[in-house]
Symmetry: C2
Subunit: 379 residues, 2 copies
C-alpha cells in the first residue's frame, strides 16, 4: 500500500503532537523464528477454545446482545484465583487499555509520574497522550531499580516488574517500601511477566507478585495480562488488582471512554484460562526451564545474560555488537528485538521460544562466532 | 454485592469530575421481553460463528500471537463493501471506542463541538472526558435537525443519523450542506442505525448513507457499528469511514491509547459478517417490516409514532404518560427505554423485536387501555 500524503489541517493539537507506541513487528513469513514480541511459545489452554466453541454452539444467537459491561464472571474467577473481592478486580481490552485508564485516573495531576528510564516504552506515550509529565528515574548501573531514587513529589510511580526489557525483578520488600513511603501517590506495578518469576535464593520475601500486598496498601495497583503467561495475546484481555476505591475510579474512567471493552467470547475464553490452573502452571514451568537452558547456552557462547524473571532474556554479545547480531539473525529468519537507545544499544531482547527455535538460534549464533569465540566455547 | 465506601483521595480531578455513560440495563431474567437497548432480534449471520469456529479449529494455537494491529483483512472487506480504499477505513472496539478517539483527534480545540440537544447521550460524556466544550443545538419542534441552526464557529459537529432516540433521518442534501458550509470543521455522521433507513418518497437523494460523500468532502467522517444491523453487539466492532488524513489521525490516536483493540476472533467474525451480504440484507428488511407493522399497531392504539429509520420507534402514548406505561410494561416483564429528560419525558423508545415479542407488547398495551381508548381501537 503506497502511503498517501497526510494533511493535518483538521487534527487537534493533541493528535498532531502524539508519538504513538511502535509495537514489535509482526511479519507473516513462513518458517520465521519470531522471538521479538514476548509471545508464549505454547498454545493457550485447550479449555479456552472449548469454552468459546461452547458459547458459539449454545448461544451464537446471543452475540446479538451486548456483553456483560463489567465482565462479572471473568472478574469473579480472577478474584477467586487471588482470594480477593470482585470489586478489587478490573479487566480491560489488554493491559495496554488498562494502563491508559490508569494514567488518566491517577497520574493526571500537577505533580509528575515517575518511571524507570529503561522500561516499557508505552509509558511515555500514555504520558504524552494525557498531557502528564513523566520523569524518568535512571536504573542503577546493573539495571536494577533503587527505591530510594524515587523519593520526590509525584502523582504516582509506575514500574514494570519484572522490568522489560531487562527481565530483572524488584523484591516485594522494595515494593512495600515504595508503597509506604508514597502513601499519597498511586504505585502501579505492571506485572505483565510476573508468572515467569521465581523467588531468588537469598530473598526474604514469601511471594513474587505484589497482588499479595493489595489488602495492605490502599495506594497499590497491580496490572497483569493474559497475553504472556496465558498465551492469549490474540484475545486482548488485561487486568488490574487494587483497593476498591482505585478500581472504582478505573470503572468510571472506562465508562467514560467505552462501556463494553471485552466481547462475549474474550470474557468466556479468558475465564476458562483462569480456571485451568494445572495447564497454566505446567506451561509457565516449561517456559522457565527453556529460559534457563537458553541462558546457559548463550553464556557458554560468550554472551552476558541478565538474570531473567520473564519469558525473554536480555543479552549482550561479547563484543557488544547487538545491532549486527540482530541483522545477521534476521537474514537467517530469526527476529529478535534491538532497542537503539542509550545504555542498552549493546543488548538484545530475545523471547523464550520452543526448544526447536532455541536450537536454530544457537546454531546460527554459533555460526557467527569468530575463531576467538570458538576457542572460548571449547575451553 | 454491597457497595463499599469509595475514597476519591487518590483520584485525578478528571476521574472525580466524570459523569460516566449509563447504558440501558441488561437484566438477566428468563422470559424477559427486552426492548430497551436496540439489539437486533435476529441472530448474526451463521457465517460469523463458522468463521470463528474455523479460526479455533485451525489456528487455536495462534491465539498466543498478537492480532493484526490495524485489522487489515477486516478493513479490506469493509473497503470493498463501500468501494473505498483501505486507508479510508478505521475499525475499533465498538463504535463507542471509535467515537472516543474521534473526540480526542478532532474536537479537542478551542472552539466547541456542536451536537443536537436530543441525541446519543454518550456525546456529552466524551466531551467531559476530554475537556471539550459541547454546545447543544435544539432540535426543531418536530425533532428534526435544521442544518442552518449549526451556523456558528465550531471544531466540529456530531449528529447521529438516523438520530437516537427519535429515529428521524437527515437527508444527504442536508449533510452535504453541513459539510460544505463548515469546511474547516470535522462533520461526524454517526450512522449506527443507517442500515434500517430508507429513502423517503419525496427525497431527491439517491442514497441514505453519507459514506457515499466521503470522496467529495475531506472533512466528513462517518461512523457505523456491527452492534445493530449486523447483530453483533456481543463482538464489539465499530468503524469509521473518511478521508485518508482523518483516518490517519484516528490511527495515531489509537496507537497512543491501545494498539490492538480488536482480538483475532472479532476480526474474523466481523469480516465474515461483511461478506454475507444476502443474510444482512434479508434481516435488515425483516426488521424494517416488523417496524412498520409495530408502528401501525401502536398507531391504531392511539400512540403517536415518529417515522422511524432505525431498529427502534419513538412513541408517545395518547396521554403522554410514558413513565407510567414503562413501569406497567416492566411489571409484565417488558423492558422499554424511558428518558427522564426535558422535551422527551412523554415518549418511550421501543426496540424492534420479534413478531412474538411485538404480540406480547401489543396485548399488554391493549390491556392497559381505558374504555375511552378501547372505543378508539374498535372505531
Amino acid at each position: 500500500m503506497s502511503e498517501p500524503k497526510i494533511d493535518t489541517r483538521l487534527w487537534s493539537a493533541k493528535a498532531r503532537n502524539l508519538s504513538p507506541y511502535v509495537p514489535g513487528e509482526q511479519p507473516q513469513h513462513d518458517n520465521l523464528c519470531k522471538l521479538n514480541t514476548n509471545e508464549n511459545p505454547f498454545p493457550p489452554s485447550p479449555k479456552v477454545g472449548e469454552a468459546i466453541t461452547a458459547v458459539l454452539a449454545q448461544q451464537a444467537d446471543e452475540l446479538r446482545l451486548y456483553p456483560a459491561p463489567e465482565s462479572d464472571d471473568l472478574r469473579a474467577a480472577l478474584a477467586q484465583l487471588y482470594d480477593l473481592n470482585i470489586n478489587q478486580v478490573f479487566v480491560g481490552n489488554g493491559s495496554d487499555e488498562v494502563l491508559a485508564l490508569i494514567f488518566a485516573s491517577f497520574f493526571l495531576k500537577e505533580r509528575p509520574v515517575l518511571a524507570p528510564d529503561i522500561s516499557y516504552s508505552f509509558y511515555p506515550v500514555y504520558a504524552q497522550t494525557f498531557g502528564i509529565e513523566l520523569v524518568q528515574i535512571a536504573l542503577e548501573a546493573d539495571f536494577s531499580v533503587d527505591p530510594d531514587a524515587y523519593r520526590q513529589p509525584c502523582s504516582g510511580i509506575i514500574i514494570a516488574n519484572p522490568n522489560a526489557p531487562t527481565g530483572l525483578l524488584l523484591s516485594l520488600s522494595d515494593i512495600r517500601k515504595l508503597a509506604s513511603e508514597h502513601s499519597n501517590s498511586v504505585i502501579v506495578i505492571d506485572e505483565a511477566y510476573i508468572d515467569f518469576a521465581h523467588l531468588d535464593s537469598d530473598s526474604s520475601d514469601t511471594a513474587v507478585s505484589a497482588v499479595s500486598l493489595i489488602n495492605e496498601f490502599d495506594n497499590l495497583l497491580v496490572t497483569q495480562t493474559f497475553s504472556k503467561s496465558r498465551s492469549l495475546a490474540g484475545l486482548r484481555v488485561g487486568m488490574a488488582f487494587g483497593n476498591v476505591s482505585l478500581i472504582a475510579a478505573l470503572t468510571r474512567m472506562k465508562n467514560s471512554f467505552n462501556s463494553y471493552p471485552l466481547d462475549k467470547l474474550a470474557q468466556a475464553g479468558a475465564r476458562a484460562s483462569v480456571l485451568d490452573t494445572v495447564y497454566f502452571e505446567q506451561t509457565c514451568q516449561q517456559v522457565i526451564e527453556l529460559r534457563e537452558s537458553l541462558t546457559a547456552q548463550l553464556t557458554e557462547l560468550g554472551y552476558k545474560v541478565l538474570p531473567s524473571h520473564a519469558n525473554f532474556i536480555f543479552v549482550r554479545p561479547k563484543d557488544g555488537n547487538a545491532s549486527d547480531v540482530a541483522n545477521t539473525l534476521r537474514e537467517q529468519g530469526i527476529i529478535v528485538r534491538h532497542f537503539d537507545k542509550p545504555r542498552i544499544q549493546e543488548y538484545l531482547r530475545i523471547t523464550i521460544g520452543t526448544a526447536a527455535q532455541h536450537e536454530r538460534l544457537i546454531n546460527t549464533v554459533r555460526g557467527m562466532q569468530t575463531p576467538d569465540d570458538t576457542d572460548l566455547i571449547s575451553s
